[in-house]
Subunit: 309 residues, 2 copies
Amino acid sequence: MTGSDIAIIEVGLVDGLQSIEDFVPTAAKMQWISAEVAAGLRHMEVTSFVPAKLLPQFSDAEEVLAHALTLPGLGARVLIPNLKGAQRAVAAGARSLSYAFSVSEAHSHSNVRKSRDAQFADFVGIMEFRRSLEPARRPYVSVGFATSFGCSIQGTVSERDVVDFACRFVEAGADDIALADTVGYATPHQVTRVVRSVRTEIGERLKGIHLHDTRGLGLANAVAALDEGIREIDASLGGLGGCPFAPGATGNIVLEDLVYMVEAMGFRTGVNLESLLELRRWVTGLLAGDPMRGNIVRAGLPKTFKVTS
Amino acid sequence: MTGSDIAIIEVGLVDGLQSIEDFVPTAAKMQWISAEVAAGLRHMEVTSFVPAKLLPQFSDAEEVLAHALTLPGLGARVLIPNLKGAQRAVAAGARSLSYAFSVSEAHSHSNVRKSRDAQFADFVGIMEFRRSLEPARRPYVSVGFATSFGCSIQGTVSERDVVDFACRFVEAGADDIALADTVGYATPHQVTRVVRSVRTEIGERLKGIHLHDTRGLGLANAVAALDEGIREIDASLGGLGGCPFAPGATGNIVLEDLVYMVEAMGFRTGVNLESLLELRRWVTGLLAGDPMRGNIVRAGLPKTFKVTS
């Protein structure tokens, strides 16, 4: 049960910042990324190639990515909403893209005003674009399956749909799939069940999990995923994400709490928790209204915990 | 993975109130118990027979217990610190006692100024007292194993000690043992491991688990226990417990969040979540400084969740 490595993917710079209206200075974003890499993080979603007129927070996507690409050892992923975003990202030098797809038809319409089939067709276009590139420039492409465990608009999301779309995306060329509990509906046994069903069809192409802590089950769901062999877990510093100013909304699982939990369970993340908590204080100062959460920052580390990295 | 019943034991009236200085009126305690039973709770630790001069909050133990004993369907347990407490509890009509034992030698000295062996000798005295009673008056006796997963004073607690003391207590006459993560050090795989080790030696005599949410792992640890077949879980309304006015301290796992989680996983608790949330609001009003926590109260129930009871 111990010893394996886990890739923890910081998504706070996208999931977190997209809900923050005040523009965070580009230099601060770069400093955040550098400090987190210095703390041992090796995987970050650093920016989003969504149109700047929709989300001005990401108007500096090219600059932020360019900085991330200078950091040795960092796997820098960027979010792309569509073909245009993919083209911009590749032009900016991106090596790893993440495409967001909603398994819930209602969420798909609400979020991107498209049906799931139209979203899938867009993805096929992105794959064609990738094939048109010289092999050395073709990026790695993950697909994040939003609302894989339920949807606050339509309610239940069919497990069969999750499996079927996973097969379709992999056949179309997706390098991996990550399952996302976008609205915090998942329960641990459900995570076990859905991961197993998807694994049965696409095997190791199911790589990651993205969990929200809306109802306090985020870490319990992460353990369920770990126990099924998942080794890539999204999280954000201080649980940034959701809309911190909307009552009831809660963000991603808290990155520093996740690092604590998995390290205490004997896994290795490469992350130095003390450096991470120091960075967290700095980011808290950076963002107005203190939208961060977390347990370790309040309770401290147990006497039995060894900071290893 | 579904369908079994789970006994959720409300410990807020002891674990929660013991850290609240202002005396909660006896009538309010009684109303809390009645309302929680009306919401479907069937198991509560209703009071503590600790000396009133040590904890004046429990100076009304006899009255509170007498009220609880009038409520049909309620399994009312009381905490006893020693033989004198057991004698008072039995004289007051208690049918179910919980004796607290610290597996950590350092915690034992700090908490009750006694070695573990002295604590065990006290328990043997309680068992002699029980045998001296007419059979019909002999209470059921559980032993709560504090610091079973680590101790904030001595650090590591030996798993061997947990197993050995479990055997000794069962041989001495304990009806069941519950493992407690008093300081929030447990991790899910550790819960799996310790539960298995203790079960190997005392089988079904290991009944319950008592978890604190200090570092946010309470529900993840509860799932680990459930997956090992544990079906009795302590919790407190709003997570009452610890010392709410001490920064960094956090109480028990949140009862209403636990009910939500296990019901969403397909277990049945008999508890009506809406009634419980209404009661929670009333208890919040009763206690100064709002020492309560929780996720469901903030985020609400998912669209997919059916209130069943």
